[in-house]
């Protein structure tokens, strides 16, 4: 291929097909591999997420959960393997199709990642302004409705992110992730840094919204309570692979040493008796 062809191919794109979000499988990951400086972080990850399901991803610190999440949302380029979002391959998608996919998901970053120069209202409206052509009145009303849905008072609308507490930042970030009524939501450690009561409330909120809006949720977490109360299925990442996947009962019954100490260790017991 000549250089001009190579440059031109950057601008070509497949027809921006509509994304069929009524499919059974929302996310399909096959043989996903990621390398950093010749160290393999992910060595062939395989899993599916069904539509309307909450999948919790656990693993030891440094096992590659964050890398997996960042790869799934396109921030890291995988060295091999495929990520399909409602049947469309995302990892090789070019601009138009990637945008179509990105339009249908929302991401909650661990520390919120709110734009510090914008108010709460502008943060929530940011994706709406970019993707939808709405009147200012509707923008304001929907932003207020979203904030109420995540349990924030309307006074919060005009605040700056620096004026919010940690729990409120998470809620605003969730409202922003839900701004476009996405089909899939990625949550990066949603309850980390919250006190147990707030964390519990946040779990309930995620569960309620997931049921109301029919969301598919992919969640990376360390919080055993979240795993118990929110997740339909749990997948365990260790040594760059998914070593187990299934509902909580499967995890508790497993004899794998790591799973045993994780789910049935000292900190797991309280949750397990619930």
């Amino acid at each position: 291929m000549s250089l001009t062809d190579g440059v031109l191919s950057l601008f070509e794109d497949e027809e921006a097909a509509t994304l069929d979000i009524s499919q059974e499988i929302a996310l399909r990951v096959r043989n996903l591999q990621v390398e950093f400086k010749r160290t393999k972080i992910l060595k062939g990850v395989n899993f599916d997420v069904k539509r309307g399901e909450v999948l919790g991803f656990v693993g030891a610190s440094g096992a590659g959960k964050s890398v997996l999440l960042r790869t799934m949302i396109g921030l890291i380029q995988p060295s091999e393997g495929t990520i399909e979002v409602f049947g469309q391959e995302f990892s090789k998608a070019k601009e138009l199709r990637a945008q179509l996919i990105e339009r249908h998901w929302g991401i909650l970053f661990q520390h919120g990642a709110l734009f510090s120069a914008l108010t709460v209202r502008q943060n929530v409206q940011f994706p709406m302004r970019e993707y939808l052509n709405l009147s200012p009145r509707l923008l304001d009303e929907v932003a207020a409705a979203k904030l109420k849905m995540v349990g924030l008072p309307p006074e919060a609308l005009n605040k700056m992110p620096s004026e919010l507490s940690g729990g409120m930042i998470k809620r605003v970030a969730l409202a922003r992730a839900l701004a476009l009524d996405p089909a899939i939501v990625f949550l990066g450690e949603p309850t980390s840094g919250l006190d147990p009561i707030s964390a519990g409330e946040f779990d309930d909120l995620i569960r309620t919204l997931q049921r109301t809006l029919g969301l598919t949720v992919f969640m990376v977490t360390h919080d055993l309570d979240s795993l118990h109360s929110v997740c339909d299925r749990i997948a365990v990442l260790a040594d760059g692979k998914v070593i187990a996947a299934g509902p909580m009962s499967t995890m508790l019954a497993s004899e794998h040493p790591w799973l045993k100490s994780y789910f049935r260790g000292k900190r797991g017991r309280v949750g397990a008796t619930m």
């Binding site: 009303e141 207020a144 029919g214």
Partner: protein, 379 residues
């Protein structure tokens, strides 16, 4: 699908029938909003009831649910009963959720622009100038106290830190300072020769360049460069340390941030700037001499001879004595701005800009004060 298909309105006696269909989603919200607005019942109309049939709706998200809610609420507010029928089961939850979230007061946008506003901004800015001056004085005092403490107990001085800072703001700035001042000297000489030549006074360019560079231009250019290069770096460093609570951590461990962070930086600048000024002046004179010999046909020997005649040590001292004071001003402004940084990235950017602008401004003001002073003592 046409926009009209989303909402069909028909009148039956005193009842308004509204039939909804299609996709009530974010992507169609714009069309949908127009239709919903159009379906609103005008006041004094004979219509007494509204019936919304949602049977044909295939998709519904928060946007659609909100617009339905808006239609119903607008209708009920104008005293007409409104009812929804045929809402598909899977959408019931979201419509109810949006209905519950709906009774919020719409917070106002603050978008007023009046003379009073304008005056308020002016007043705020004036107060800000006063506050900056107070902070400057406060920091000058704190640095002086820290310095006196160091004089009493020299062992407490962060010598390593200072050497590191000299490396950053002094040694590493040498190439760019040499280059810039060389160019400035060359340009001054070229302009001088070009204009002086008209009345045969070519050789006076040496007087002009010599006096200008040694007294004013050398130190000013170096200070502007240092303010842009090192002052901004100080603000950004201290600002991000402040943002990540490192400054607070230092304080709680019993260290004084002024003597640990600020003093070594300012001392480093006070040492580095005079040296840079000297190097810059030499580089500017070299550039001027080069242009004089190539462009102005003034031989290097003649240039040097003339320079020796017109330049006294006074000229050099007038320039170099300003350097440490300007360094002090740059350092203090940069550190004040850095420590004034609040939690956000935007604040850091604003403070860094303010640091550079303020320090360059103060350097020029200080230069003016020195000019008055030297004129008064005939130097």
């Amino acid at each position: 699908m046409s926009a009209e298909a989303l909402l069909a309105v028909s009148v039956h006696g005193d009842r308004l029938n509204v039939a909804a269909a299609g996709e009530w989603t974010a992507d169609r919200a714009n069309d949908l909003e127009r239709l919903v607005m159009a379906a609103a019942i005008p006041p004094q109309s004979p219509i007494k009831a509204m019936l919304v049939d949602m049977k044909g709706v295939a998709k519904l998200d928060t946007y659609g649910a909100w617009l339905l809610e808006r239609l119903l609420r607008g209708t009920r507010e104008s005293g007409v009963t409104a009812e929804v029928v045929g809402l598909p089961e899977q959408f019931r939850v979201i419509v109810e959720t949006v209905h519950q979230t709906a009774e919020l007061p719409d917070p106002e946008r603050t978008r007023r622009r009046s003379v009073a506003d304008w005056l308020e901004t002016v007043g705020e800015n004036v107060a800000e100038v006063g506050k900056s001056a107070a902070l400057f004085a406060q920091m000058l005092g704190a640095v002086t106290v820290a310095w006196l403490r160091v004089l009493l107990r020299p062992r407490t001085f962060r010598f390593t830190s200072m050497v590191h800072q000299i490396d950053l703001v002094g040694w590493r700035a040498v190439p760019i300072i040499l280059l810039i001042t060389f160019l400035i000297g060359a340009i001054l000489a070229q302009q001088g020769i070009f204009h002086f030549r008209k009345f045969g006074a070519d050789v006076f360019v040496v007087d002009m360049v010599g006096i200008l560079v040694l007294r004013e231009i050398g130190v000013l250019i170096v200070c502007v460069m240092v303010a842009g290069r090192s002052g901004s770096a100080y603000t950004a460093e201290l600002g991000s340390m402040k943002m990540r609570e490192e400054v607070d951590a230092l304080q709680t461990m019993g260290f004084d941030p002024i003597s640990v962070l600020v003093l070594p930086r300012i001392v480093a600048l006070i040492i580095a700037v005079p040296i840079l000024t000297f190097l810059g002046e030499m580089s500017a004179l070299y550039g001027a001499g080069l242009v004089a010999s190539i462009y102005g046909n003034i031989a290097p020997e003649v240039f040097l001879q003339r320079l020796r005649e017109v330049i006294s040590l006074d000229h050099f001292m007038v320039g170099i004595i300003k350097a440490p004071f300007m360094a002090l001003v740059i350092g203090i402004v940069a550190c004040v701005r850095g420590l004034e940084t609040k939690g956000s990235a935007e604040s850091l950017g604003m403070q860094t800009t303010a640091a550079v602008v303020q320090s360059i401004f103060l350097v020029i003001v200080l230069d003016g004060i020195f000019a008055i002073f030297f004129a008064a003592i005939d130097k």
